[in-house]
């Protein structure tokens, strides 16, 4: 059969695969957001800028220090995560006693600052980052030509998402984190340094964003605006999945990527809006999200 639902099967499978690739980025980024919201109750608007900084960190590591892609995968998230720790310690922590919306506004402002600084230095056009040699080329799958690198992205993000989920749900550290979300005072009474845990958790979420940035560098251009175009979609994903739910973020991320890809095949004009339509519907019927608990 050459066609499926009236569309040539090549195009269908191809867009599906591209949808999975986009979904990997959605999943990785919404994972970080879900972790941060779950513990801090802060919507981290800076997430897009931190993703962008991860990509830039990879670019600098390569061009100034000669560190290749594989090193960048570890070093960039650490670097950007460190900036996250600084933000939490000196700015976010002051806002916990206030209305949560102030946190949103602060991170929004920080996003503007970071994007502005990078745009000032590098313009908006974008810098090239070459693909690591080991992942160049691709395989002809018959229905489309799949570049190796994109396959790697799907695989690696799956691994990281599942790994984080296991970390939070199945380990002792994760148990402490979840307990601290529900009752910080009690957990502190047991001798756990809750503020430090919160700081490190924020840093971890930021690091996840930066990691996604490193993944993105070889395929999308390293540009100061790469984050702002993505962040709104990622918010929608997190809201649909359930703002504090790790599993929700991952499943919804991949799922929505696929749905968006399919929409591009059947009804391309709506491909941009489909995620927001779904978000509006979910918010009306089940405001805590598909997997959320509050």
């Amino acid at each position: 059969m050459d066609q499926i639902f009236g569309i040539p099967i090549n195009a269908f499978m191809g867009q599906l695969l591209i949808g999975l690739i986009n979904g990997s980025f959605y999943a990785l980024l919404s994972l970080g957001l879900a972790v941060i919201f779950g513990l801090l109750n802060i919507i981290n608007f800076t997430h897009g800028a931190q993703y962008m900084m991860g990509a830039f960190a990879a670019y600098f590591l390569l061009n100034k220090l000669g560190m290749n892609y594989w090193w960048a995968l570890v070093v960039a998230p650490l670097l950007v995560g460190a900036t996250g720790v600084v933000i939490e310690r000196f700015m976010l922590s002051k806002l916990y006693k206030l209305d949560h919306l102030y946190g949103l506004l602060l991170t929004f402002g920080l996003a503007l600052i970071f994007e502005g600084i990078f745009r000032n230095e590098f313009g908006s056009a974008g810098l090239p980052y070459s693909m690591p040699e080991q992942l160049q080329g691709g395989h002809n799958l018959g229905f489309m030509f799949l570049p190796n690198y994109r396959a790697w992205v799907i695989g690696a993000s799956l691994v990281i998402c599942i790994g984080t989920w296991l970390l939070i749900e199945k380990t002792k550290l994760g148990a402490y984190l979840r307990a601290a979300t529900e009752n910080p005072k009690m957990v502190e009474a047991f001798g756990v340094n809750v503020p430090r845990m919160i700081t490190l958790t924020y840093g971890f979420g930021v690091g996840l964003a930066a990691l996604a940035g490193v993944f993105a560098a070889p395929i999308y251009q390293v540009s100061p605006q790469m984050g702002s175009s993505l962040i709104i979609v990622v918010f929608a994903v997190v809201v649909i999945g359930g703002m504090g739910s790790i599993l929700g973020a991952v499943v919804t991320g991949f799922g929505l990527g696929v749905i968006e890809g399919l929409t591009k095949v059947f009804y391309p004009e709506a491909s941009n809006t489909v995620i927001f339509v779904i978000m509006a519907i979910v918010l009306m019927i089940r405001p805590q999200g598909l997997f959320g608990q509050r």
């Binding site: 503007l112 929608a236 339509v277």
Partner: protein
């Protein structure tokens, strides 16, 4: 907020508020009446349109307690409809602006019905989602012209007589529109409806227990805010003779939050001050592209961390303190005296 029954200073609050408003209104009006003689009128018109937009937004957050992160949809949609009405349907300018405002109102009703049931973060997110849908609709719809926007919108003649291509004539027309919108907001705040809204903002469960249908009040405030934002957008499209995607983009929603936050949320004149400062800053830095974004970000961060009352809020607080300045001095003096006495080993 101060309760007159328990706090003796509160009665001065009410007097102070009335005095501040009277002087403020005269000052603002006087400034805007003479400003075009020494400031480029098109810049002032931009300020007025954004000031109205920010006042409409402030009605919702400052007095209704609802943070909308999608207000750009009203500004932009009204602009597109007004531009289309003036250019393609050939409506006279007053009708074009009214049509744009009506479109924003309809959109406000639709969005309000969907969003009002939620609060806090969820409300903000749903308004953001709806605004994004409107953005992508505007990107695709043929009548909006996509990236090019609707260009060459005619300014026409006011009441068939006054030629609005003259910047001065256009300016006073825009000023009249702004004052009308602003005074409508003032009237709304001081009406019984406004009082209930304030009560809902402070303590919604209590308002519900008193028998008020809070959802209805919030919904009405939302629609009114949308309509006035639409008025601002429709007027802006005629002023600049162009309607474009910038006005429906989510960064425009962020910008109005910034203006209101900087000016003073919950104050009447705050949004005007905020709009003026932000527009002036953008104008001054316009040749340094990205610096505008950086400065906006810095203003956001500073306001959230250290300047939450905003320009007008701080001004009000400063002026209020002056009334008890002598008392303040006395308290300081007494405290130092007490401290010194303690050091000397006194009682």
């Amino acid at each position: 907020m101060a309760d007159p029954a328990h706090d003796p200073l509160a009665t001065r609050d009410v007097e102070f508020d009335a005095k501040f408003f009277r002087y403020g209104l005269v000052a603002v009006l006087a400034f805007f009446l003479v400003a075009p003689t020494f400031i480029y009128p098109v810049f002032l018109m931009k300020v007025l349109c954004f000031a109205l937009f920010a006042c409409a937004f402030n009605l919702l957050i400052g007095f209704g307690g609802l943070l909308s992160f999608g207000h750009a949809m009203f500004l932009g949609m009204a602009g597109y409809v007004s531009a289309h009405a003036a250019k393609v349907w050939g409506l006279p300018v007053e009708l074009a602006i009214l049509t744009g405002t009506a479109a924003a109102t309809v959109l406000g009703v639709a969005a309000g019905l969907l969003a009002i049931r939620r609060q806090g973060i969820y409300f903000a997110m749903i308004t953001l989602a709806l605004a994004q849908m409107v953005f992508f609709y505007c990107l695709q719809a043929p009548f909006t012209g996509g990236e090019d926007g609707i260009q060459s919108v005619p300014r026409g003649k006011l009441l068939g007589m006054i030629d609005l291509t003259n910047n001065f004539a256009m300016y006073y027309f825009v000023l009249a529109i702004f004052m009308a919108g602003f005074l409508l907001i003032v009237r709304t705040i001081h009406s019984p409806f406004g009082q209930v809204l304030k009560a809902i903002k402070e303590n919604e469960p209590r308002a519900i227990s008193l028998g008020y249908r809070t959802e209805r009040y919030k919904f009405l405030a939302f629609v009114l805010s949308a309509a006035l934002a639409g008025l601002a957008g429709a007027t802006k499209a005629i002023v600049f003779q162009l309607a474009s995607l910038t006005d429906v983009h989510w960064s425009m929603s962020g910008e109005v939050v910034l203006m209101t936050l900087l000016g003073g949320m919950g104050t009447l004149f705050g949004p005007i001050a905020g709009a003026f400062v932000i527009m002036a800053m953008e104008n001054y830095l316009s040749n340094l592209g990205a610096w505008v974004t950086i400065t906006q970000g810095i203003v956001f961060v500073i306001c959230v961390l250290a300047f939450r009352r905003g320009i007008v809020g701080e001004l009000e607080a400063l002026l209020k303190r002056k009334l008890t300045f002598r008392q303040l001095l006395f308290v300081l003096f007494a405290f130092r005296h007490h401290k010194r006495a303690k050091e000397r080993g006194g009682p």
